[in-house]
C-alpha cells in the first residue's frame, strides 16, 4: 500500500533568503530563540540575512547590539547557559578573531567543565570567504581555527536547501555550532527550498556528483568552483570526477570521505584558506592514515597561499579558481 502524500511545497530561494527563512521560522517556533549582532535589527544585517525580522519579532528578540564582538559572543554564551537559544552574528569573518578568547577558552568547554550540567546551545553565524571585491578583513576563511577547537561544531552549507535545513538543525542542536555562510553564494546560489520547517542532519556530507577516477573534496563556495573544474576535466580529459561537499567540517563525515576516496583512489582537496594548518591538512592526514593502500596518487591540497589574503584586485590569484583545481587534478590523475 502506498500512502498518498502531497508533494512538499517548495520555492526557489537564494542562499541568504534561505538563511532568513530559517531564522524567521526558528523565531516563530521557539520563544527561546533570539538574534543578536551588529546591524541585525533595523537594518536587517549588512547582507540582509535578518531582513524584516526586527519588525516582525521586536527589538527584544532581534537585537542591535553595541559594536563589541566580545560582548556579543560572551553574552550569547551566558544567554545560552541561562536557557535561551541565541543566534549571534559576527558581521564579517575577519572580525571573528576578537571572539577567540570566548570560543577557545569557554564555548566548547562549559559542558565538559560542568560535567554535563551546563550546556551552550548557541549558534554563531558569520559570512565566509572571498571573491566579492570586499575591503580588507572581509574575505577570510578562518574555519580551521574553529575546527581545531574541541567541543564545537562547524557547519558551512553551499546550497540554499542545505543552508536552511542545517541552520535550523544548528539552532536545535544542544551544543554550540559555528555556522559559516559563503558570502559569494548569498545571492548567486539559488535552488528549491521547502517552504516549511525542516532540519538536515549535522555531520553528513553531500555527494554533489558521483564519479570514478578522482574525488574533489571541498566545502563552502569552493563547491561551485569544483563543479566548474569537474566539467572541464570530464570534457577535456575524459576523467570521471566525484565531488563531495562536506557541509559539516566538525564532526566530520569520515565515512563519506573514505568511501569516496577508496572508490576513486585519487583526491584533491580544494578550499580558500592557506594550506598550512588548514582543514585540508587534517583531511589529508586522515586519508593518509586510513586509506593509504587504496590511494593511487598522493592527496593534493589546493588552497590559498601561506600569506595574508591580498586586497581584492589580486584575490582571484589567491583563492583557487577552476584552473588551479584542474592543474592539481591533472597531476593527480597522471601521477
Amino acid at each position: 500500500m502506498t500512502i498518498a502524500s502531497k508533494p512538499a511545497a517548495t520555492q526557489v530561494l537564494n542562499l541568504v533568503s534561505a538563511v532568513n527563512q530559517a531564522l524567521d521560522q526558528a523565531l516563530a517556533k521557539d520563544s527561546r530563540v533570539m538574534l543578536l549582532g551588529e546591524d541585525v535589527g533595523r537594518n536587517g544585517g549588512v547582507f540582509r540575512a535578518t531582513e524584516g525580522l526586527w519588525a516582525k519579532y521586536g527589538e527584544r528578540r532581534v537585537v542591535d547590539t553595541p559594536l563589541a564582538e566580545i560582548g556579543i559572543m560572551g553574552s550569547a554564551i551566558g544567554l545560552a547557559v541561562s536557557g535561551m537559544r541565541p543566534v549571534a552574528e559576527i558581521q564579517f569573518d575577519g572580525f571573528l578573531p576578537s571572539v577567540f578568547d570566548q570560543v577557545v577558552c569557554h564555548l566548547g568547554r562549559i559542558r565538559s567543565r560542568s560535567r554535563g550540567r551546563l550546556s551552550v546551545p548557541l549558534v554563531l553565524r558569520a559570512p565566509h570567504g572571498g571573491l566579492i571585491h570586499a575591503p580588507e578583513h572581509h574575505s577570510e576563511s578562518p574555519e580551521a581555527y574553529f575546527c581545531h577547537t574541541p567541543g564545537i561544531k562547524v557547519v558551512i552549507p553551499s546550497t540554499p536547501y542545505d543552508a536552511k535545513g542545517l541552520l535550523l538543525a544548528a539552532i536545535e542542536d544542544p551544543d554550540p555550532v559555528v555556522f559559516f555562510e559563503p558570502k559569494l553564494l548569498y545571492r548567486s546560489a539559488k535552488g528549491e527550498v521547502p517552504t516549511g520547517y525542516y532540519t538536515l542532519e549535522i555531520g553528513k556530507a553531500r555527494v554533489v556528483k558521483e564519479g570514478r577516477d578522482l574525488t574533489l573534496l571541498t566545502w563552502g563556495a569552493m563547491t561551485v568552483t569544483c563543479e566548474r573544474a569537474a566539467e572541464r576535466l570530464e570534457r577535456e580529459d575524459g576523467a570521471s570526477i566525484e565531488i563531495i561537499d562536506l557541509r559539516t567540517l566538525t564532526p566530520l563525515d569520515i565515512d563519506a570521505v573514505l568511501g569516496s576516496v577508496e572508490k576513486t583512489g585519487r583526491c584533491v582537496i580544494a578550499h580558500e584558506a592557506p594550506n598550512t594548518g588548514s582543514w585540508a591538512a587534517e583531511l589529508s592526514a586522515l586519508i593518509g592514515e586510513r586509506a593509504l593502500l587504496k590511494l593511487l596518487a598522493p592527496v593534493a591540497r589546493v588552497g590559498g597561499w601561506d600569506i595574508r589574503m591580498p586586497l581584492f584586485r589580486l584575490e582571484p590569484y589567491y583563492i583557487p579558481d577552476a584552473d588551479r583545481i584542474v592543474l592539481a587534478a591533472r597531476k593527480t590523475l597522471n601521477f
Binding site: D39, V46, P66, L67, A68, P135, H138, W305, Y317
Partner: protein, 375 residues
C-alpha cells in the same frame, strides 16, 4: 557612616565657533591667519575629493569607499597640532587625517580600489595604516606612545576611533595602559552618531563618551567636532600636555556622518532625513567660511580660485590613480617576511606556473614587473 563622595567627574564641552559662525573670543586659541586658511583649505579639498571618490565608486571605477563628509574638522585639524615624527593612526574613515598629514591621495584611491600598493604614506612621517577590524589599533597606539616616552624627545601618538568602537574592550585596555603609564597619547573618539545603522544612543548608556576617561585616570573633554577651532584648541592643549609628560587625553569630538556608512550601505533604511538636515546646518566648512569672511581673510574670488585649484588637483590624482598599471599577481608574495621562507618561494613558483597555464609562456614577460622585496 554617611556616604561620602570619593570621586566625581566634571565633563566639559568645548565650543568656540558656533554653527552660524559666531566666535567666543575668550576661548579662541592662538592661531595664525595662515593656519586658519590651511584648516579651511584642507577641509574644502577633502570634501571635494570625497565627492569625487563617491562618483568614481558609483561609476564602477572604485571599490567600496567610506565617506568622510561632515567630519572634515575632526579629521583635518588634529594633524595640524603634530610633527611628522609624532605617530598618527586614523580609522578606515580617515582620508582627511591622511590628507592633512600630506598623503598623496592617488594612493588612497588605489587602496579603496583593492590594490595593496595604496598604503603609501609620506616618507619620514610616522603614519600607520588603519585597522579594519575596528579598535584593534587602540592598544597599539598605547605602545606607540610608550615608545615615544622611551625616546624622551617629547613625541606623542594620536589616534582615532568611532563612537561604535568606544564600546569595544580595546578602548578599555588602551586607556588603562595609557593612564597607568601616563603615556603621551591622544585618543580622539570621532563620535559621528552612527556605527553603520546603530545610533550613538545604542552604544554606551552614559550621556557622553568623554566621561569614559575618568575611569582610567585620563583627562577627558567633549568637543564640538564640527568646530575646527574647538577641535584645534582641545588637541593642541592635549598634545602640549602629553609632550611635557602630563599624560594622555581622551577627546570626544561630536560630529555627524553625513553620508552612508560606505558606498555599500544605504542609510535611508535606518535614519531620518530630518536628523541629517539638522546636522547640515552645523556644517564645519560653512561656519569656517563665515568666520574667515568676517575676518576679511576670505571672499568669493578666493573661494572660486580654491575650487578651481581643487578640481585640477583632484583630476591629477584621479588620472595618476587610474594610470597605475595593474598589479603583478606575484606582488602578493613580497614583503611577507624580511626573508621569504622556503614555502613561499615554492608557492610563488607555483603561482608563476599557474600564470603560464592561464596566459601562455609569454605572460610573465608581458605582466608589469613584480614589485616589493622577495625573497
Amino acid at each position: 557612616m554617611p556616604l561620602k563622595t570619593v570621586a566625581s567627574c566634571d565633563v566639559k564641552r568645548l565650543e568656540i565657533l558656533s554653527a552660524d559662525g559666531r566666535l567666543d573670543k575668550k576661548l579662541m586659541p592662538k592661531v595664525s591667519n595662515a593656519l586658519l586658511l590651511t584648516m579651511y583649505r584642507l577641509m574644502f579639498q577633502i570634501r571635494k575629493f570625497d565627492e569625487r571618490a563617491v562618483l568614481l565608486q558609483r561609476s564602477g571605477r572604485l571599490g567600496t569607499y567610506p565617506m568622510i563628509t561632515g567630519q572634515e574638522a575632526t579629521q583635518c585639524v588634529p594633524p595640524l597640532c603634530l610633527q611628522p615624527s609624532d605617530w598618527v593612526v586614523p580609522t578606515y574613515r580617515g582620508g582627511g587625517v591622511y590628507f592633512a598629514r600630506g598623503m598623496s591621495m592617488r594612493y588612497a584611491l588605489l587602496y579603496w580600489a583593492g590594490d595593496d600598493r595604496g598604503t603609501r604614506f609620506p616618507e619620514g612621517n610616522n603614519d600607520m595604516i588603519f585597522s579594519i577590524p575596528v579598535g584593534t589599533h587602540l592598544t597599539q597606539v598605547a605602545g606607540l606612545a610608550w615608545g615615544q616616552a622611551f625616546k624622551g624627545q617629547g613625541g606623542v601618538a594620536l589616534t582615532y576611533c568611532g563612537d561604535g568602537t568606544s564600546s569595544k574592550g580595546d578602548l578599555h585596555e588602551a586607556l588603562t595602559f595609557a593612564g597607568q603609564f601616563k603615556l603621551p597619547a591622544i585618543y580622539i573618539i570621532e563620535n559621528n552618531g552612527w556605527a553603520i545603522s546603530v545610533p550613538r544612543s545604542r552604544q554606551a548608556a552614559s550621556p557622553t563618551l568623554a566621561q569614559k576617561a575618568w575611569g582610567y585616570g585620563v583627562a577627558g573633554i567633549q568637543v564640538d567636532g564640527n568646530d575646527a577651532l574647538a577641535v584645534y584648541a582641545a588637541t593642541a592643549s592635549a598634545v602640549a600636555r602629553a609632550r611635557k609628560g602630563g599624560g594622555p587625553t581622551l577627546i570626544e569630538c561630536e560630529t555627524y556622518r553625513m553620508g552612508h556608512h560606505t558606498t555599500a550601505d544605504d542609510a535611508t533604511r535606518y535614519r531620518n532625513e530630518k536628523d541629517v538636515e539638522t546636522w547640515r546646518r552645523k556644517d564645519p566648512l560653512a561656519r569656517m567660511r563665515t568666520f574667515l569672511t568676517a575676518r576679511a581673510l576670505w571672499d568669493a574670488a578666493k573661494e572660486a580660485a580654491l575650487a578651481e585649484q581643487t578640481r585640477t588637483w583632484i583630476d591629477v590624482e584621479v588620472k595618476a590613480y587610474e594610470e597605475h598599471p595593474a598589479p603583478n599577481p606575484l606582488n602578493m608574495f613580497a614583503d611577507n617576511y624580511a626573508t621569504a621562507p622556503r614555502a613561499l618561494i615554492e608557492q610563488r613558483a607555483e603561482l608563476e606556473e599557474l600564470l603560464k597555464f592561464k596566459g601562455g609562456a609569454r605572460i610573465l614577460t608581458e605582466l608589469p614587473a613584480a614589485e616589493g622585496r622577495f625573497p
